[in-house]
Symmetry: none
Subunit: 226 residues, 2 copies
DNA sequence: GCAATGCTTCGATCCGCGGCGAACCATCGG
DNA sequence: CCGATGGTTCGCCGCGGATCGAAGCATTGC
């Protein structure tokens, strides 16, 4: 019975207390970095790396590289169901989720991520573009729609006849744990925001201050409340 | 934190291949002696005794003394649900599953899951009951409607004035990846199918053979084509 | 460029646990 | 009583895996 052995492997993966702690941390559906999960489980980075590799190989976690970070999340909703099912046999209690991310409010609100916008503003902006049909989520990332290209052109961003880096990349937001827009389009929007005076860099950090001009522009072009 | 450790202990209990084999043997809802489980798992009596003691201490099995025999069974229907759920995740991880062989075909078509029907027949039967308004999907599982209670009464199943285990539970089907009916109603339907000669157990497995009588009955009562 | 940060690999250590044989206890048939 | 059968306890062995420190690789920030 091959299936029995495989099932036992899956259960063994869940069975280690350290790995269980990691899985529990991930049970809210967000993604966490390897270091965050190591701290959450109270183990060293090497041990965490080993555990995470096993969980990925076992199909319980999926991983997304982001610069020097690696974001882990549950590979499927069924994983969470299994954990809840196991809870039926044991006691019930909500897991403690570590508060992570920068303490700086400005950083949370808006910041530069590499060459594009991140934080609450970046995530909300991307969500609006998807909702308005300017960006369509695709199999391997996202793509700009016809109306989206016209919308960007009105803002002075020409996305046609360009090659090299992909136009749209999805970037997992550090503080929001949701995707924001990267790639050439994301970089262009970030340049636009800085060049138009919508946002200004805060000296010495990656944080961005949204100016009154920016608040008005975000409301006008993206129907975003401040 | 305590719950995490307890949950990990439960998963570890399931995680040993030998114990998994025992649990699988017990998944048809019947009780087996320690010696039978030892032979089924291919281990010596002392080892089996140790494993069974652990499974009982972990709340996965219950035991019943009868003379010099000790009969073990799954402690609760939820245990079977967890095992099936783990199978779903494990099967999801393995893309290439050998889906051939007559024994596997019979298992996929109809089988017993603890005390109720599973497989294509079990899933289809539940789907028909929902479509016909006999069962209504609810927030936390499902419930039998008024017409559903009358329908079951016509089949000789009385679901009124009973307490204890819930009437309707949903169980995720291992092979179909959809829900089938568990709980008291599911168990009653399974008993009906066996007692009425609709299906017969295949010796040594959880598979069920649907008899010609059963095919006719499923068509008549549930409008199910074979 | 260089330093700092995040993560992985390697090597070594150590503990837990599954496995069995032998002996022991419990129950049944006579 | 006495053997036969079913199960458990005990002692021991060996392997697997969890852990960490140190070193190495990759990426970012300045």
């Amino acid at each position: 019975m091959v299936t029995i052995v495989n099932l036992a492997e899956t259960a063994t993966l869940i069975g280690d207390p350290t790995r269980t702690a990691m899985l529990f941390t991930l049970m809210d559906g967000r993604a966490f970095t390897a270091g965050e999960l190591a701290r959450a489980a109270g183990i060293s980075a090497p041990t965490a790396s080993s555990h995470l590799a096993q969980l990925c190989a076992g199909g319980l976690l999926s991983v997304e590289r982001q610069g020097r970070h690696r974001y882990f999340r549950l590979a499927a909703p069924e994983i969470a169901s299994i954990l809840e099912g196991l809870l039926v046999v044991t006691a019930h209690r909500l897991p403690a989720i570590p508060r992570t991310g920068p303490r700086d409010r400005a950083m949370r609100h808006a910041r530069i991520c590499y060459d594009h916008l991140a934080g609450e503003v970046g995530v909300a902006l991307f969500a609006r573009m998807v909702a308005q049909g300017h960006v369509r989520l695709a199999e391997n990332g996202a793509e700009i729609t016809g109306p989206g290209a016209r919308f960007l052109a009105d803002l002075g961003i020409d996305m046609t006849h360009q090659r090299g880096a992909p136009a749209c990349r999805l970037c997992l937001d550090w503080t929001e744990r949701r995707h924001h827009l990267a790639g050439r389009a994301g970089a262009a929007l970030c340049r636009l925001a800085l060049d138009s005076g919508w946002m200004r860099r805060v000296e010495g950090t990656r944080a961005l201050n949204v100016t009154p001009t920016g608040i008005a522009a975000l409301r006008k072009h993206f129907a975003l409340a401040p």
